[in-house]
Symmetry: C2
Subunit: 335 residues, 2 copies
DNA sequence: CTGTTAGCGCTTTCAA
DNA sequence: TTGAAAGCGCTAACAG
């Protein structure tokens, strides 16, 4: 709180506060000479504008909020990176909040944000999503863009990836590798993201005349150990020769379980996972991944949000779908 | 901007704005009955206080800033996670900024933050640190805590890990594994973090009667490919049997180079890296790591910052040093 | 081109 | 226990 404010500058320069304010904003109404004087003194005294005052006055905050389930997640941290880049371009600040996959925290957060604290929101919703009620009011009050994870019953701007197609292609890839029994590790069951991935898997099977089997579909749960036990049980009981992990965290138990059961990847069982893990190629053996363009998604979502904030004409339910990349890395499993 | 404000509540309740404000803050001066009425209406109309107005008035922002080199980094994203947890406990908001390892961006940022936008700052400085001048002013104006990466010439509160000891122990570990020629991949050369790690390595060598060799020390550069080439060159020319990577990103070129040169890890060369990579145990072969308690560091740093904000008695140069963990994972290199 | 005035929404004296 | 009034720092309308 450098107590040097506009009033002080005005006093020192024998000008009015209004003139100083205008000069600082490089207004066309102010003479070059006056501007120079103001700028010089502002610099000399290291004047820093008080954002709260100007926000209060202008009813805008030059701040956006990003709400994600977790920051410590390869996808989200990269997306935030992209968002941050665009925000800086617009001289905006970025508030980051985590829901830790809890809708309750999401609701509490959104309530807090309705106070005009931010001009817009970028959100990827919590996985235990059930009730989208809290968004109904929100979207009438604040520009909002959903990225990656969204509520289907809310008409809003969304930036997602080709979840259906990429799961479909991944499954087809396993079929092409002669897998006969392809299991699926399901997550985000409540969200369109999860539903589409599952649908892609199921349709790809059907397309190849393979009858899907409920027993080959494992539902993710919060407990890491339980996930591990489930996958291990699956491998023992049903001996699948292919597995699709619908989120990164579910690929890990596959590796551990295969190791414990002396199963060879990919000789005995091939694994494909949705993942933004940088070191996927270095895993033992390399993990074949469906990689979402996280950084790009962040950039796109932020760009659209700023278009709305700047009143560019954007459809209120504009949807952008980016492409994921299937990175096939099959090794013999011996190396 | 729910246009329901204190004035509106006051009008509706036939009270003055002052009374409503006091009631909302549960002031002892207000009758229970009035409080009840105010709370009821506030809830009914979904009143949300305007932070900017109250911040302006109270000269505090209920917001802290976190400045990190990158969000998409296993250490920093986990640290942010810890910070966020503590901030929520105190009902504070968290602004996140990235410097992308550029001191210039750091300086620009800090200037922006001097406007009273935040009540305190948690920072891990950019790696090309050279000039700490911009902090000299900052620390006189705002409570600030350095975590992990700091400027040595600034008297400030710091939360770090045992960089010297952990590098020392890692080197000793390699010596104990019969390594005779231990290389070091140096990073963060300008920072105490990097200097201490290097010193730990050098002292451990000396302690074992091993003469250190400049040629075995490779300096990190921004270019990934160049790092790879350097490491490859090191392996070809000097054939080290042990390598310490002082940051996670430098472990990767080791893996790639060894692979290209048909060198077996750890049979031909053992690798230890500072790293917070969750999948380190799954790498081909497993990576032995020095893991910093990132989440804990974030929590500690934030906790100390809030102690300062709440005027608890804290030494102006309190330093906290947490312990890293050496996670040894040696495999035959055949699996 | 510059100044005057008013007010953003809230909190805090001071007075009743 | 409540109200009136002032002001945090800034900017926008209006006037000159």
């Amino acid at each position: 709180m450098g107590s040097v404010n506009i009033k002080k500058l005005a006093l020192e320069l024998n000008l009015s506060a209004a003139t100083v304010s205008r000069a600082l904003h490089d207004s066309y109404e102010i003479s070059t000479e006056t501007k120079q004087r103001v700028w010089a003194l502002a610099k000399a005294l290291n004047y820093q504008p008080n954002h709260f005052a100007s926000n209060l006055r202008q009813q805008k905050s030059m701040t956006i909020a990003v709400i994600v389930p977790e920051v410590a997640n390869n996808f989200f941290s990269q997306a935030i990176n992209g968002i941050e880049e665009i925000a800086r371009l617009h001289d905006y600040h970025v508030l980051i909040y985590q829901t830790h996959e809890s809708t309750e925290k999401e609701i509490a957060l959104i309530k807090r944000l309705l106070s005009g604290r931010v001009d817009g929101i970028l959100i990827s919703v919590a996985s235990n999503a059930n009730d989208s009620e809290h968004f109904k009011e929100l979207i009438t009050q604040l520009p909002l863009v959903f990225f990656d994870r969204l509520y289907e019953d809310i008409e809003a701007i969304t930036v997602t990836t080709d979840d259906y197609e990429s799961a479909f292609n991944a499954t087809q890839h396993l079929v092409d590798c002669n897998c006969k029994k392809i299991a699926y590790l399901q997550a985000l069951n409540n969200l369109s993201t999860g539903k589409k991935r599952l649908a892609g898997y199921l349709d790809a099977l059907k397309n190849n005349g393979i009858i899907s089997d409920e027993a080959l579909i494992i539902k993710n749960c919060d407990d890491e150990n339980k996930n591990y036990e489930q996958v291990k049980g699956l491998l023992i009981t049903h001996k699948p020769d292919g597995i699709i992990a619908s989120i990164e965290d579910l690929a890990l138990p596959c590796y551990y379980a295969c190791n414990d059961l002396n199963l060879n990847i990919p000789a005995d069982v091939k694994i494909v996972s949705f993942s933004n893990l940088k070191t996927a190629p270095l895993l033992k053996p390399s993990l074949t991944t469906i990689t979402q363009p996280a950084f790009q998604i962040g950039k796109e979502a932020a760009t659209i949000l700023f278009s709305v904030l700047n009143k560019k004409d954007i459809q209120p339910n504009e949807t952008k779908v980016l492409k994921s990349t299937l990175m096939i890395r099959e090794s013999t499993g011996m190396g």
